[in-house]
Assembly symmetry: C2
Homo-oligomer: 221 residues x 2
């Protein structure tokens, strides 16, 4: 009982800060994506491709979350957009207070779109609200088509599923049809994109969707 | 402070049961592998290939750990070896008490080798001893070559690294040389195998190594 109480208090504290962040993000008209996935699904490559496609149309910035190293932040910094690296030093997910601290360093940038790249972990980040507008779960074709069934919480909490590395379909055991059906069985309202950062397939459709959603979000906000 | 205390107590309780399990495993002369990786690295396919290669030479059984579903246990059951599925219902790693409960169902099988397939998660399972003889971390070439640097705890705790899906090297951005160097920078004593369950590359070397280690383990035990 003691353990459950502490876990509940941790989540409650996270949720209070997440609501504060959501208010901050909404009042500044910023559209915030919390990108989650397994390690190695290609999240950082997708963020790079998204920045390249959008940085002339909107002000975009990134918060990178990693267990260790600032390798990902350096990749983003090379594209000349504002970026802050959070190193969790072993922790398996980002929490709202860490994101609040990181966001303070970005507040002057007056961003239209903020991408939070979470720690690579298909389990734990599902439980932590970061005040985002929506969660985007990235699943690589190389992970197979059964992951929505085996890790349902992440797919249930996401608004968008990006099926990445579709260029590898000929070489891996993954049916796009089965993957889509499994994901929609868990969450029927998922918006699904199919992308490849190697061939650029699907990147334009994904980026146009972000811009359109960000515009309606700003209007509603 | 209260939270840290609870976490320490959880780990202490796990370690006490893990030591009990280690005693049980050692006294029965059983060699126990705790297989850890990201979701979709091909752990279950590797376990299937390992069983097919070894089941005529040794008595082998499996404990499957998953957040949800018994899909993996059904795959193993089709090979006619003893298997028990642990469903964690959301928890991100296996703990020793769960493994103890599962092992009770396997104790009559008089196994030589037990494979514990952990939840797909490259962060949390690193901290939980399950009484295993050694941890095997599986990294797929599709995850890129930087994962040992970004998720160091798992590579530090492992005795063996299996670089899986080497047949996909021509199609992905991953240098085997860099991946090996990054892994050995974190843990210089890692034993490394390169495998593909599609072409069967490396499976014989890996399985011969298990049999050899299991034999010396039984002698020492």
């Amino acid at each position: 009982m003691g353990i459950l109480t502490v876990e509940r208090k941790l989540l409650e504290k996270n949720d209070i800060v997440a609501q504060e962040l959501r208010g901050l993000f909404t009042s500044s008209g910023m559209f915030v994506l919390n990108m989650v996935s397994s390690p190695g699904s290609g999240k950082t490559s997708l963020v790079e491709a998204t920045i390249k496609a959008l940085q002339r149309r909107v002000r975009i910035g990134v918060i990178e979350g990693d267990v260790q190293t600032d390798l990902d932040a350096r990749r983003i910094d090379a594209l000349n957009v504002p970026v802050v690296q959070i190193v969790t030093h072993g922790a398996c997910h980002l929490e709202a207070p860490l994101v609040r601290d990181a966001y303070r360093q970005l507040a002057d940038a007056k961003l239209d779109i903020l991408i939070i790249e979470n720690v690579g972990n298909l389990v734990c980040p599902a439980a932590y609200d970061l005040g985002e507008s929506l969660k985007v779960v990235v699943a690589s074709t190389t992970e197979g088509d059964d992951k929505p069934l085996k890790y349902p919480a992440m797919f249930r909490h996401a608004r968008v599923l990006i099926i990445n590395k579709v260029d590898l379909i000929p070489y891996v055991q993954c049916s796009l049809e089965t993957l889509r059906a499994n994901a929609l069985a868990i969450n029927p309202s998922l918006v699904i994109f199919e992308t490849s950062c190697t061939t650029s397939q699907g990147i334009t459709a994904w980026c146009d969707w972000i811009v359109s959603e960000a515009a309606s979000h700003a209007t509603v906000g």
